[in-house]
C-alpha cells in the first residue's frame, strides 16, 4: 500500500476467540462457510485492537466496489422512480426524476462517495482510498452506461400506492401492491434470511429481481430461488404465503429469467438449505474451524496472511506460481538500498526456499536483520540466471511482519 507516512503498526494474530456460528443464515454466509470455514471465521472474528468495526478489516477491492456502486445507483434511482409513481421506464416523468437526482453522472459520483465513506474507519483500506476514488471517478462513463442500460430493463408495477419508503422505516408488516428495493426476507422458523434487490407486487404478478454485476454463475439461480422461498415463508411480510411467479437475474448485459419454484420445489429447496445450514453451523463451530486451502479459495482471500494452513509448502504447491504476482514469506538479511532490502525466501509458490531475494518498497519501511515478513501480492521479476528474485511492492501489496509465535504486524 502506498503511504507517505509510516502506517501505524497494529498487531494481528489468530483471534482471541473464534466467532460464534451465525444465528441466522444467509446465502453469502453459507457460501463462505462451505468454501472455507477458517476463512469465514478469521474474517468474522472480532479484532478490537485493530479497529472498532466488525470482523477483520476488509481489503479495498476495486472490482467489488464497482459492483456495489452499480447496485446502489440502481437502488437509488429505482426507489425515486417508484416514489414518483412512475408506472414504467417509459413514463414521461422518468427524466424529471433523473433531473431531480442531478443526472446519472451525479448519481454515480454520490454513490462512489457513499461507498468509499464506508471505508473511512478501516485502517487497512485508508491508504488506498484516494487512489480508489480517482480510479472509480475515471470509470464514471463506464458506470453510467452500465447503470442506464440495466435501468432500462427494470419493470415497475402500475402503482396506486407507493410503499418504497417502507424499508427505511424498518416496519415489517404485510406488503401490498408496490415495488420494494433492498427488501429483507426472513424465514425465522428455519433460521434463514436474505436481502432481495427488488420485489415487485401487483395484482397479477409477484416478481423478485436480483442485480448481479459480475459474470453469470449457476449459483445465482439458486440464490434467487432461495429468495423466492424466503418470501413465501416470511410470516410478517407475506402472511398469505403468496409465491413469486417471476424471478429475474439482472446482469449488466442481460436479464436472465429463472423458473419460479412450485410449491413442491420450494419444499425441496427448504430441505436443502436447512440441511446445508446445519452442516455449516457444525463446521463453523469447530475450534479452530477447518481450513480448505486451494487455488480458488485462497486467491482472493483477504485473511490469508493469518492462516497457518496457507503458509505451508503443500498449500503453496497446490496454489501454483503466478507469473506476475505472488505471496511470499521472506527473511530480511540486510539493507540493499534506500528503499530496497536483501532477503531470503522462506516460502513461496514462485521460488524455492533459500532463494536470494530483493524486496523493493516505494515508501519508507524499516526492517531489521532476521525480520520475517509475509508479503501479499508483490510483483515478481528475476530469479533466473542465478539472479535474486525481486519482489516489488505496489499500490495494493501488503507486508506483515511475522514474529516468533506467529504474531504478525501490519507494516504496509
Amino acid at each position: 500500500m502506498i503511504a507517505t507516512e509510516p502506517v501505524p503498526l497494529w498487531t494481528v494474530d489468530t483471534p482471541a476467540t473464534w466467532p460464534e456460528a451465525p444465528a441466522e443464515m444467509t446465502i453469502t454466509t453459507l457460501s463462505e462457510i462451505e468454501a472455507c470455514p477458517r476463512r469465514w471465521a478469521l474474517a468474522a472474528a472480532e479484532y478490537p485492537e485493530l479497529w472498532s468495526g466488525h470482523g477483520y478489516p476488509p481489503r479495498l477491492q476495486l472490482s467489488a466496489l464497482v459492483g456495489t456502486i452499480v447496485h446502489l445507483a440502481l437502488q437509488t434511482i429505482t426507489r425515486k422512480l417508484v416514489q414518483a409513481a412512475c408506472s414504467s421506464v417509459q413514463d414521461q416523468n422518468g427524466p424529471k426524476v433523473m433531473k431531480e437526482l442531478g443526472g446519472y453522472t451525479k448519481v454515480v459520483h454520490d454513490c462512489i462517495d457513499r461507498v468509499l465513506h464506508r471505508f473511512t474507519n478501516n485502517p487497512r483500506a485508508l491508504p488506498l482510498l484516494e487512489s480508489a476514488n480517482r480510479s472509480l471517478r475515471a470509470r464514471t462513463p463506464e458506470l453510467r452506461t452500465r447503470i442506464q442500460t440495466m435501468l432500462c430493463r427494470v419493470r415497475l408495477p402500475p402503482l396506486q400506492t407507493v410503499r418504497a419508503e417502507m424499508r427505511e422505516s424498518k416496519l415489517r408488516a404485510p406488503l401490498t401492491i408496490g415495488a420494494f428495493t433492498e427488501i429483507e426476507l426472513r424465514a425465522t422458523h428455519i433460521g434463514w434470511k436474505g436481502k432481495a434487490d427488488m420485489l415487485v407486487l401487483s395484482d397479477e404478478t409477484c416478481e423478485i429481481t436480483d442485480v448481479k454485476t459480475g459474470m453469470p454463475e449457476e449459483r445465482h439461480q439458486f440464490q434467487v430461488q432461495v429468495y423466492a422461498l424466503l418470501w413465501c415463508r416470511d410470516e410478517e411480510l407475506n402472511p398469505n404465503h403468496r409465491r413469486a411467479d417471476r424471478l429475474v437475474l439482472r446482469y449488466s448485459d442481460e436479464d436472465v429469467q429463472v423458473a419460479a419454484p412450485t410449491a413442491v420445489q420450494l419444499e425441496e429447496i427448504e430441505r436443502n438449505i436447512v440441511a446445508r445450514r446445519d452442516a455449516a453451523l457444525q463446521t463453523a463451530s469447530q475450534r479452530p474451524p477447518e481450513a480448505r486451502p486451494n487455488r480458488e479459495n485462497c486467491r482472493y482471500c483477504g485473511v490469508r496472511h493469518l492462516c497457518d494452513k496457507y503458509w505451508t509448502p503443500e498449500t503453496q504447491f497446490v496454489i501454483g506460481a503466478d507469473q506476475r504476482f505472488t505471496d511470499a514469506e521472506v527473511s530480511i538479511t540486510g539493507r540493499h538500498g534506500p528503499s530496497s532490502w536483501d532477503a531470503v525466501v522462506k516460502l513461496s509458490a514462485h521460488s524455492k526456499a533459500g532463494t536470494r531475494a530483493v524486496l523493493r518498497t516505494h515508501h519508507e519501511l524499516e526492517f531489521r536483520v532476521n525480520d520475517c515478513l509475509r508479503i501479499i501480492e508483490a510483483a515478481i521479476a528475476g530469479g533466473d540466471d542465478e539472479q535474486p528474485v525481486v519482489f516489488t511492492l505496489f499500490a495494493v501489496s501488503e507486508v506483515y511482519s511475522v514474529r516468533s509465535g506467529g504474531t504478525a504486524t501490519k507494516a504496509s
Partner: protein, 340 residues
Amino acid sequence: MQLNDHLRVHYTRQHLIVTNRGPREEGYTYCTKCGLIEPTALPKGVVGAAHRKPYPDSHDPNCPGGGATKGLVLGTDFITDVLLISISVDPPLTLTPGLLATDVALRTISEALTKAACARLELEANELQAEYRPALTAAGRDGREAEIYLYDTLPGGAGFAPRVGRLGLSVFEEALQILENCPENCDRSCYRCLRSYKNKFEHDLLDRYIGASLLRFALTGTTPTLDAGRLERSTDLLFQDIERQGIEGLSLARNKVVSVPGLGQVVAPILAVNRLGEFVVGLHGALTPDTPSDNGLRDMKEYSVAIPVILVDELVVRRNLPNATANLIERLRASLREVT
C-alpha cells in the same frame, strides 16, 4: 507566471534526466561480465547464456554468461534551461494520465509549441525540445492538470527556453495557428504541419485536431467539440462497419429521430434496435469522455430512463475501428441474449 486561467509558465534551470526504457519499456539486459547489452524485450536474447564478447579479445573471445542484469534503463542527466508550462482543465475536459487521448493531445501541443517557438526565435528545429507529464499535484493525478516542459537541447542551456516564456500567450496562439491551418489540410498530421524526421517515433501520436481542441480551450476556455464534418465522417465509419457485420436481429439507422419519453425528439447518430428495444449510439471527443457534442444527446445521456445511450470514443473509431466496432457489437449483442 500566470498567463491566463488555464496556462501558467515557470522558468527554471535544472538537471534534466533523459531515459531510454527500450522496446516495450522493458529496458535492456546487460552482461555485467563483458558489457554486452540487448533489449530485454528480445524474444531470443543471448546475453544470459555464453556469448561472444562485444569487443575484440584474441585471448578469450567468448564470455561465459551468467552475469545478466535485466530491465536496465539507460539514462543521462544534464543541466539546461527549462520552461515549465502548466495546463489546467475543467470538466468535462480531462487529461487523465496514461490515456491515449491525453498522450496525443500533449504530444501534439509539445511539437506545435516547439515549432512555433523555434520559428519565432529563428532557431534550428532541433535547438528546442518539449516533453510532457501529469502535473505532480492532486489535480495532475485527477487529470485536471498537465505539464509540458520545453528545454534547450544544448547541455548547459542557451537561454532559449526563458525567452519563449517571455513571449507570453502569443507563442501559444501561433502554435494553435500551426494546428488549425495545415497547408495540406491533413486528417491528423503531415510533414507540412507537425511531422519531421526528428519526431519520427511520435508520428502516431500527432493529431492536430485533438491538440488544437485542448490548446483552444487553454487559450479561450472554449469546451472542445468535435468538428461537425469529422464527427459525421467518424460516425459514418462506425455505422458502416457495424452494418457490414450483418448481425441477425439488429437493425441500424443513421441520424434517426427518436421520441424519448419525457425528453421529446432527439436525433440518434446511430439507432440500434433489437427485439428488446432501442439503443442510441453516439461518439464522444477524445478529451471529453461521456460527453456528446449534441445537446439533445447530452440530456438523453444524463436523464433518459427508457433508452440507453452508448458513447464510443471518436479517437478509437479513427485509430482502431475494429476494436470500436467489436466492443459496440458485444454490448449490443449481449442485450440480445436475454432469456424470456
